[in-house]
Amino acid sequence: MSEKREGRIWIAGMDNVFSGQTIANLDMYEKLPQSRPVRVLPDVWVVKIGGQSIMDRGREAVFPIIEELVAAKEAGIQFVLCVGGGTRARHSYALGLDLGMPTGALAKIGASIPVQNARMLQMLTAKHGGIMVYHDDLEKLPLYLATKCIPIMSGMPPFEFWEKTPTTGRLPSHRTDAGTYLLGEFLGAKGVIYVKDEDGLFTADPKKDPGAELVVHADAGELLRNGPDDLIVERVVLEYLQRAKHVREICIVNGLKKGQVLAALRGRSVGSVITAEVPTSR
């Protein structure tokens, strides 16, 4: 009944470049045609609202940013809002570390906090079309955008229990900066903007070192190799920027300064820009 080829059940017409190969076979990739993947939602920005930097400041910081986001939407600019965790996420990690939890379990508990923040933003923007989007609803984004909603998501990627142990330490290396970036790269988005409480990237943490200087343009690879010990964005984002097909730069703006978020969404250069060094031909 069932035909076999080389001991495996086989159906005529199933042959393809990967047939019988292991996924680890490096030579196989050389033979594939070089092509760039399609952009899923090319006109959409992905904007991340910082947890510790914005949400934990409360009304004073959050309300003016919402005003600018609503103005942008009214002007026809499309975006998906992601949000970070902040101080409660840090408390969760501190507690989990103290209790001997592995990285995947820390990522799981850490993921709850940005969901709280996303729900807060949804309530505040509901009258302007703010709508909560869970990872499983991602395929409904076109509907939400077409109906002029503001899709709001947790910035955390869905890795949770499957978060890898990092090379150093135990904290999850994919947190809300990474999830936001990976969403942007998947969508082939217009750009990824991080709204924080600093003018951009500094040579050191400006909250701890008053001598720190603003870096307007930085190279992702260079930052990983020779950058400061502390950075304004998660390190994995800088790694992925260099491997990415679409989103090869990110922008960091100061949400506490009026007009910056709107300006960034209008494509103006504000804050710091971090780019991947050489565009790959992959």
Binding site: R8, V17, F18, A24, L26, P37, D56, T168, G169, L171
Partner: protein
Amino acid sequence: MSSDLISGDGRVHVKSGLMRESLVSKALNEATEGGPIRRMVPDVNFIAIGGQSIMDRGAEAVLPLVDTIVSLRKHHKFIIGVGGGARVRHTYAIGMDLGLPIGGLARVMGAIEEQNRDILVFLLAPHGGITFIKDHLQDLPMWLDGGMIPVCIGQPPYHFFEPPPLNGRLPENGTDVGLFLMAELIGAKRIVYVKDVDGLYTADPDVDHQAHLIPNITAQELIDRNLPDLPFDRELLRCVERSRLLGGFHLVNGLKSESLQQVFDGKKTGSVVRASAERNFS
């Protein structure tokens, strides 16, 4: 731990060891390296069944393996994970031709593994086989104590958020990686990859008669050797090197019904790939 609220810099912090930290600092991450990690579901064994190597061979390969697992279940607790095989390769070939981004390929691939999981649950159901989906990870103790054999897919739930790969052009977090991450997370006793080769060889034994079996090697050595082909995901080696609890994996030939039995009898069979440095502090 105190839950004092600290303010004064415009943000409200929950007091913790990670308060005000970006969590990006290398020095901070190094400080989280030590300390014991607890095992969530100890004493369980993961069996990873290959898609192309075992499942696609049909009754001839699958039924004897199922019999072995059922017989071993009397003395050992198991979680069974399964890969996709020929239909995954077809999915990737079509998906890549259509220009799907890496996260899109990852999102559609899992359906094939779910088919194979359902096939194994069908075969194992008379002996306690049960579908284990990610949302029920915390139910594992109940199932295992009840004598059940949970069966799950291998691919980790990164879905649309699959990071751009380091090598190649397919999702690098495949079946082998996902199952290793799960075994590492719960602090399993061991993970055994069941494929259609006697173990890891220096070259393809069908082509090169000088090729010999590697019974025991570190993941780092394999990364350094950069062999053109491997019978498992390349990313698996990096996960082994970062492991804190599991420390390595077994690779055995599932076409020889005695090999799995031999692993549990403590006899030498197949190959063992282990981490080069002990990272276990517990």
